[in-house]
Symmetry: C2
Subunit: 147 residues, 2 copies
């Protein structure tokens, strides 16, 4: 489990190199933003501010980072994509999604539940001929301020 900021950058660099990519300033900036955010970030949020990476570069580099397995695209009901650091760089977790305002928070479920759930899902996937690579579990509701 890599948690320190420096360690994350080191891991990211390694993964990029493995697929023949450089760890440029723009990419570092994006990763920094995701580390700082501590949760899924909307692309729009990455495009504002003085030091923002230009739009086309941001999109391109987010794709590169995604392909390198550094970040993950979070599927939402909203109009735009959100990204977060890969679970190897943080921790396995799930999301609390507000169905009204779209706010997303991270949550973890107890390891015991996680384990038994994982076993069940593996069996199901196998039965359906799917090679299971993971699961996505989101809680949908109304957050405190929208309720």
């Amino acid at each position: 489990m890599t948690t320190g900021r420096g360690e994350v950058h080191q891991t990211v660099e390694g993964r990029l190199h493995r697929v023949g990519q450089r760890y440029t300033a723009n990419r570092r900036a994006l990763v920094d933003a995701l580390i700082a955010a501590r949760g899924p970030v909307a692309i729009g949020d990455l495009l504002v501010g003085k030091r923002a990476v230009p739009q086309s570069s941001a999109y391109r580099n987010l794709s590169v980072l995604e392909e390198a397995g550094v970040i993950r695209r979070v599927i939402t009901a909203g109009d735009f994509a959100r990204f977060e650091l890969d679970e190897d760089l943080t921790e396995h977790h799930h999301h609390l999604v507000c169905s009204n305002c779209g706010r997303i928070e991270d949550v973890e479920i107890p390891a015991s539940v996680e384990r038994s759930l994982g076993r069940t899902l593996d069996r199901l996937a196998e039965g359906a001929g799917f090679a299971s690579v993971g699961h996505r579990l989101d809680l949908i509701g109304r957050c405190r301020s929208c309720a």
Copy 2:
């Protein structure tokens, strides 16, 4: 649990009336397509064919049906939306999503797992100040033909 085709239409009509909407021929056609599909349908699939509902009407009516709680927008990684009938009209289930080709299949998980999972999630949501929580659990993997 409503399962017969006629029953579904009756339920749909009721829900639409409850929010002051009519059950028009276009809407009925969309619901029929969703019943026949037996799983999440991409909007594109609803726009082809001789009897297809025109694009603008399809989008408008899918929104109406969604607001009336008749259908549900399925969140995917793909480029376009998919819809399925509300769970009240079918059964509570989850999805097997192929991360490569985007194919989606329905799966159910054992009731016992579902129950204990539900309890756990309720507790988590409550702790985070989230109200009225449902969950979304998808299995991500590679389907037989993509593996």
